[in-house]
Amino acid sequence: MSANRSESERHEAAKRSLSPKRVAAAAGVFVVVLFLDFFLNVILPDSSIRQLLMLAACNVLAALSLNVINGMAGQFSIGHAGFLGIGAYTSAVIASHMHHFFGGGEPSFARSFAIVPACLCASAIVAGFFGFLVGLPSLRLRGDYLAIVTLGFAEIFRLIIATAQADSGNGQSVMGRISAAISSLGGQNGYQGIGNDGIPLYAGPFWVFGLAALLGLVAWRIKFSGWGRALRGLREDEIAAAAVGVDPTRYKVTSFVIAAAGGGIAGGLSAIMRDGLGIVNPDNYNFQTSFDAITMVILGGSGSVTGSAMGGVFVTFTVKAIELLQGSSVVQDLRVSVEWLDLNALRMIVYAMVIIALMIVRPEGLLGERELFGKRRAVQR
């Protein structure tokens, strides 16, 4: 029609021209994570710093998955710890049993190619199933009410694990078997693998950082795919979305399943990551964990993939910094001289102050809904 290239042709050309760059970037990431798997302990001899970095990557995954529900779908889940916990326990149990089956020993890199995918797939499937169950009420409940359901789910999960008695249940009835299985997870003391010799930690930097990069890309693709567009449309205006043919029921439930599966992977990875604790404990999946995950998403920018990832890193380091502050000699001396000082409360106060300050400076989070490598122009009038 016109001699100039049309608006949409230019748009698509811009999309295509990145392809060779993308291949190179993917290869680069692969080489880097492979290198890190063997040499990270040389570069960073302090295992607590390695642990912090890998934990940050796991938290990025937790934030990215929660962002699907809270950011893209516009639902409000405050029970993400439940999905993280289910993923962690699933991976911990499967890793321990597979390790045992392969004959124990030191976790090797070659063996991790069998064990890590198996663990994480199982975590994603089990958590995704529970995501489906929790997603069903989301069809009828909105806002605060849905939040209560998700919180209730996470607490039920945590308390079922925590209150299981070691001697409860005998192998006879169905209920007996179930309660025997649950109590084999260690109850309040946590699960530490078969014979309590620790969960085998197979997921080295290759897996942790590699998956963070890969699933970050998946989250990005989800946001800008037809599916993500429909999901975000549903969040903006349910009638308008329904009018263009988007089925609200299907999308709401599916978004819960995807977010839960992602949370399961994040939790599973944190349970079997190298330099990890080698133990999963129900107390690691309490409301504080859910709250941290929400903070990551909201601080980074609800709906933004790169924002959530930044939020994940930011919160991980902030929490660690506060812990270091608590252990510092100044604070310890203060504690000795002021007997009523509660260090836990101190952590909450500092944490809350950071959040309040950020919400005053940038109420929409670091990035709002936008991305670091933005596709859209800033608001202009």
């Binding site: 608006e7 308008a240 009018a243 263009v244």
Partner: protein
């Protein structure tokens, strides 16, 4: 403007039979009867207007045609097939596309994303590109704002976007709910000109309006709704001269 659907198998409507036919349609909201036996016909290629005061049931009629509201009784035929109970998704694919009332666009999605979401039921790359180009020609202001968020558009531009998004689905029947609502008179003229062009390309249009003057001027036939019933119907020109209409709606 290209309006052929990339995947739909088109069943042609026989000469003289309506594309859309509502027969004795009743709709209840709880205990309230919103529609009390509406019957209307829309023939291929027509622009049909539906006018009436607030609460007469105009929006309800459009929503039940689009499958967004369940009807209590009656039948709705589209292309000769009874479509009662079909999902909106299937209906959009079959060719019924609604631009909802009150510029119901997606404010935090870009203009382009808004349009692409309009093509949700076919997602055909070529058809999407063609219609986006056609829509930027029809509404040049949208073309300038492709990467801007929908919520940053002016009221008139948002209405253009809502119409353009509905056209993205490549409909046979376009349902427009109050396209003039809260928009500057100058833009109303522009928007109705664009609606005329969409109709000229072969899309049948059923438009709901409170702006009776504009609606009667730009449509071939019209129905007047009053408290859930059709009070009057006929050629728009004739209705415009009807003393009752003049007294009640044209002032």
């Amino acid at each position: 403007m290209r309006v052929a659907h990339p995947r739909r198998v088109v069943t042609n409507v026989a000469e003289g039979t309506p594309l859309l036919r509502l027969e004795n349609v009743w709709v209840n909201y709880g205990g309230i009867k919103a529609l009390k036996g509406i019957s209307l016909d829309v023939f291929p290629g027509e622009i049909v207007a539906m006018i009436g005061a607030n609460g007469a049931g105009k929006t309800t009629t459009l929503k039940s045609i689009a499958g967004l509201l369940p009807i209590a009784s009656g039948t709705i035929h589209f292309c000769g097939k009874n479509i009662v109970g079909q999902s909106t998704e299937d209906l959009v694919f079959a060719g019924i596309s609604l631009a909802p009332e009150g510029r119901a666009i997606f404010p935090n999605l870009t203009v382009r994303e808004n349009l692409e979401l309009g093509a949700y039921t076919h997602r055909d790359k070529n058809a999407m590109r063609e219609t986006i180009d056609d829509m930027t020609r029809l509404f040049p202001r949208l073309g300038e704002r492709m990467t801007q968020e929908g919520g940053t558009l002016s009221g008139g531009e948002q209405q253009m976007l809502a119409i353009a998004r509905a056209v993205m689905a490549r409909p046979r029947l376009l349902l427009l709910d109050e396209p003039s609502l809260g928009i500057a008179p100058k833009l109303v003229v522009q928007i109705f000109e664009a609606i005329g062009q969409i109709a000229a390309a072969g899309v049948t249009i059923l438009v709901v309006e409170q702006n009776t003057r504009v609606a009667l001027k730009s449509s071939r036939r019209a129905y007047v709704l009053r408290t859930g019933e059709i009070a009057l119907s006929g050629e728009s020109k004739v209705l415009a001269d009807n003393p009752e209409i003049q007294a009640a709606y044209l002032g």
